[in-house]
């Protein structure tokens, strides 16, 4: 792409480094900003800079936060006896949006994959153990829910964590896998369908 101005070219190049943004979209955004009042651009760059400089990660669960300890970990109505382990920050948001979970979280920041050079030391696994061990008596952790991706790496990580937790003697569960709500059996992939038959649950008509 040829640009009439070096300034536009620089702005487009920076903008198109973002995921999901190609050169054309970047150009459209840049030209849009130029048409707006100068304050719009100022507010945007201020917000981005502030985000980068002031964002914090919760010391307890490693979720994104404005304060040292995030709002979920501080929440008074939260059930402190359950910790849900997830791969990354968007997973916390996804589970929060279900409104079905009142416990706490723990964000690993990835899953174990030796090929990519990611081992337990690169993840917040030791911090999870520490957290459970050091919990005050009234906040004692009774259950850990593993909500990791249903991939080979996710499963390996779940297995590793479960083994580690064994010594701490607490309940470990993993989220159920099967047919999506509203899903047709005939369109479900065979592996999922096969597994949901193997791990079927009792049906209660009460």
């Amino acid at each position: 792409m040829n640009f009439p101005s070096k300034l536009i070219e620089d702005a487009v190049n920076e903008m198109s480094r973002l995921p999901g943004i190609g050169k054309k979209t970047a150009l459209r955004l840049v030209l849009h900003l130029l048409k707006q009042k100068e304050s719009v651009t100022e507010e945007l760059s201020h917000a981005l800079l502030a985000l980068r400089k002031e964002i914090k990660y919760c010391q307890k669960c490693h979720n994104i936060s404005d304060t040292d300890v995030c709002s979920i970990c501080r929440g008074v109505r939260r059930d402190r006896s359950i910790i849900c382990v997830v791969e990354d920050i968007p997973d916390v948001l996804a589970i929060e949006n279900t409104s079905q979970y009142q416990g706490l979280y723990h964000v690993l920041g990835g899953v174990i994959s030796p090929i990519q050079g990611i081992g337990p030391d690169e993840l917040k696994i030791e911090s999870l153990m520490e957290r459970i061990r050091l919990a005050e008596t009234e906040d004692k952790v009774e259950e850990v829910i593993l909500a990791l991706p249903a991939t080979m790496e996710g499963d390996t990580t779940s297995f590793y964590i479960t083994r580690k937790l064994k010594a701490l003697n607490i309940k470990v569960s993993t989220i159920a896998r099967g047919i999506p709500i509203g899903g047709e059996l005939e369109y479900t992939d065979e592996v999922t369908l096969g597994r949901s038959i193997l791990t079927r649950v009792n049906y209660s008509a009460d």
């Binding site: 030796p114 080979m152 390996t156 297995f159 083994r163």
Partner: protein
């Protein structure tokens, strides 16, 4: 099942070609380098989405062109199936069945079974165990979905485990806790895959023995010895005890990737003790048994591609092989031969519809 016609465009040494085939025997004749094998390979492409000779799609495009297409119409149980294979340099290969493109190439595999017998097949006997594992994996993957899935998982976990062992070796410290999830998967999958390989041989070996007898006229007893540690008692503890060795050698030294299929004749390995003739008969029997296994499981006779086979076999073996053809044991047959009068002599006496094609520098003409 049979292939009714094929249309090539810029495939290997062909510019444009369109050929209508016989349902029974098709013989491609022409001098060396004229494109006989390439035509067989085009059929292989339509059935298995790739070349039998060259795994790099780019190298199958005609020199100095930038794409090739191979189209063909099949008849499968009375239904017409049109397959189009399109490859443009730098783009993803496309495979289209009756106007609909496949998402994954693997979905096509198994629909149109094909067995190819080629001159370099003796590598199955002469080369290392990898060739033999590939031969059996390839067959089992087409017949058994679970095998395919298990093998994909196994390959993945093995890669992860090997990467991990390398990291341990660099740090000089083994971490038993961290490697356990991988070890566990590899042990479980090894047992499951080895069991399926073992069970498959029970079905495959009798067919092999029968065809070997037919082809060679030999009374000697042949067998396949499946060598694996994965079905032995105490496999798990041996595997664990072996981890020290893994650490020193920096890779996983046990599992189904170490299995071998040893071909034997009168209880001696054919690799060392078989004569040239015995080895040739053996590989043909391997392929014909493959043909029969596909036929039994998929309920359709695979297409049989015989590349340059008359050159490699003596008259007795050819005669016996042709007797199987005459008995209509096979479905549609494609044969390539550099000496037209020889194949004509052999095939003329058959009670079958036989069509000859003369191939000259990428041009195909009917020749009878």
């Amino acid at each position: 099942m049979h292939l009714k016609n094929i249309r090539l465009h810029q495939f290997k040494n062909y510019n444009k070609a369109s050929v209508h085939f016989s349902e029974e025997i098709n013989c491609f004749v022409g001098i060396n380098g004229s494109g006989k094998t390439n035509l067989l390979d085009a059929i292989h492409y339509l059935c298995l989405t790739k070349s039998a000779l060259n795994p790099v799609d780019n190298l199958n495009i005609k020199h100095q062109k930038d794409f090739f297409t191979v189209f063909g119409d099949f008849d499968l149980h009375g239904k017409e199936i049109e397959i189009k294979c399109i490859f443009e340099s730098g783009k993803k290969k496309q495979l289209i069945q009756n106007g609909k493109a496949y998402d994954k190439m693997s979905e096509h595999i198994g629909l149109l079974p094909v067995v190819m017998i080629a001159p370099d097949d003796t590598s199955l006997i002469k080369d290392g165990s990898e060739e033999r594992r590939k031969f059996f994996d390839n067959m089992l993957c087409q017949l058994n979905r679970k095998y395919l899935e298990d093998l994909i998982r196994y390959t993945h976990f093995l890669k992860q485990r090997n990467a991990l062992i390398k990291q341990f070796a660099e740090k000089g410290r083994w971490n038993a806790e961290l490697i356990e999830p991988y070890t566990r998967e590899i042990m479980q999958l090894s047992k499951s895959i080895a069991r399926m390989r073992h069970d498959f041989l029970k079905e495959y070996e009798p067919l092999l023995i029968e065809y070997y007898k037919t082809i060679s006229g030999d009374q000697e007893k042949i067998s396949i010895q499946y060598e694996t540690q994965c079905l032995e008692d105490g496999f798990e503890s041996t595997f664990k005890a072996n981890e020290q060795k893994d650490f020193i050698l920096r890779r996983s030294t046990m599992g189904i990737h170490k299995d071998d299929f040893v071909f034997q004749i009168s209880e001696y390995p054919i690799k060392k003790f078989g004569s040239q003739g015995q080895q040739k008969s053996f590989v043909i029997a391997l392929k014909l048994a493959q043909f029969m296994v596909f036929f039994k499981h998929l309920n359709t006779k695979p297409i049989l591609l015989l590349d340059d086979i008359f050159d490699k076999l003596d008259d007795n073996r050819i005669e016996r092989l042709m007797k199987l053809v005459a008995d209509h044991e096979f479905g549609q047959l494609f044969i390539s031969d550099a000496r037209p009068e020889r194949s004509q002599g052999i095939l003329a006496s058959m009670d079958a519809d036989c069509r000859f094609f003369l191939i000259e520098e990428g041009e195909v003409t009917d020749w009878s």
